[in-house]
């Protein structure tokens, strides 16, 4: 995944979130075999942008080699939730989103 693609992803994603009013974003990086610091920061940025637009982000399918590279680069991606695969990621999104909804209702009443 090269830099321009990552920037395009950023634009497209924020656009889609606003169009569809999505509450959750699942980013599947299982076919990403290598990352560099740019991609790492990109992922963090995308998660932050989505949160600003009231959508939770979960990154799934990270390969062991990629995880080790990110750790060595010092990019721990704080604030980015992760899950092992798409199923677990969807479950995590579901529980997170419903928790927020509930807390919203409680705060309202």
């Amino acid at each position: 995944m090269h830099d321009r693609l990552a920037m395009t992803l950023q634009d497209d994603l924020t656009e889609r979130i606003s169009q569809t009013g999505a509450k959750g974003v699942l980013i599947d990086i299982s076919s990403l075999e290598m990352v560099d610091s740019f991609i790492g920061r990109m992922l963090g940025n995308i998660a932050a942008m989505s949160r600003v637009m009231d959508a939770e982000t979960v990154v799934v399918g990270m390969q062991p080699a990629v995880a080790i590279t990110l750790v060595e680069l010092g990019l721990s991606l704080h604030g980015v939730r992760t899950a092992l695969n798409v199923e677990k990621g969807m479950e995590l999104l579901r529980t997170t989103i419903s928790a927020y909804d509930r807390s919203g209702i409680d705060a309202g009443s």
Binding site: V60, P64, A67, I68, L70, V71, S76, T82, L84, K88
Partner: protein, 282 residues
């Protein structure tokens, strides 16, 4: 054909018998090799030696003429190392050939003292080089064994165990340096993927001391696991370790720590939505 090659061809059986007899006096090791096997080895060596010596190039042991002899010596050296021979005993196999060869040379060159001295010197040099070659091969084999064992020790000392459905345990034993951390990380992440586990318990009961570097390595492992979607719990924090961590000001951040593996396991069960129930008494 060189003189020594001719002598070997004409008196092969005689030289073989004398050689085997002389070998018996030094280091025969009948406990490690049978007489028949030893005779086979000696015979094969003599034959290859004779063929190589025909080439008249007695000085260059590393050349192509002597490659068959070198290969055979590599074979013997390797197998003897595994059988338990000392390198000296293996080298003696070659050196003990000197006596019968010199005896034959003396018989052949009785009238020619200069020629005898030259030939003796040439043969001595040759056999010395071949004998030393066996010790070099021996050393190389031992080194390979050591390297392989080191690798095995590294792998053995970092097992990743499946404690329960979705729960992994990594009992760390010994010091945690950067090399081991790498091995632990790779093994743990691989297991997280293959078992689909959501929780990993890293037990450091067997880690003698935790300094800032060790703590860094631990945190790296925890972060890597988290990136893959698995939570980590560090257990086995001994009282001394707890004191050291606070004194050093090591920032554990949000990492959950428990004193014992049992507590960590209970926590892990809770996190995966499970619990242990005692069956009603009958």
């Amino acid at each position: 054909m060189s003189l020594i090659a001719t002598i070997l061809k004409q008196h092969e059986a005689e030289i073989l018998n004398e050689w085997l007899r002389d070998m018996g006096e030094s280091t025969r090791r009948t406990d490690l090799i049978s007489d028949a096997a030893l005779k086979e080895q000696a015979k094969r060596f003599l034959r290859l030696f004779q063929e190589a010596a025909q080439g008249n190039n007695l000085a260059d042991v590393n050349g192509p003429h002597w490659s068959a002899v070198r290969d055979m010596l590599t074979d013997i050296s390797g197998s003897r190392a595994q059988q338990g021979f000392s390198p000296g005993e293996t080298a003696m196999f070659v050196f003990s050939l000197k006596k019968p060869l010199f005896a034959q040379l003396r018989r052949n060159l009785a009238k020619d003292t200069d020629g005898l001295a030259d030939e003796t010197w040439a043969v001595t040099q040759l056999l010395d080089k071949l004998g030393l070659y066996t010790t070099e091969v021996y050393q190389r084999t031992r080194n390979e064994i050591i390297v392989r064992q080191q690798q095995e020790m590294l792998e053995l000392s970092t097992p990743v165990i499946k404690l329960w459905e979705g729960i992994l345990a990594v009992p760390l034993i010994g010091t945690l340096d950067s090399a081991r951390t790498q091995v632990v990380m790779e093994a743990l992440l691989q297991q997280i993927v293959s078992t689909g586990s959501g929780v990993a318990i890293i037990d450091i009961t067997g880690v003698p001391t935790v300094d800032t570097l060790t703590a860094q390595h631990l945190l790296k492992t925890v972060t890597a696991a988290r990136l893959m979607g698995a939570d980590c719990i560090i257990s086995g924090i001994r009282p001394q370790i707890a004191q050291t961590i606070v004194h050093l000001g090591v920032a554990l951040g949000e990492v959950v720590t428990k004193a014992s593996l049992a507590d960590a396991f209970a926590q892990a069960l809770k996190r995966t939505g499970q619990t242990v129930v005692k069956l009603g008494g009958q």
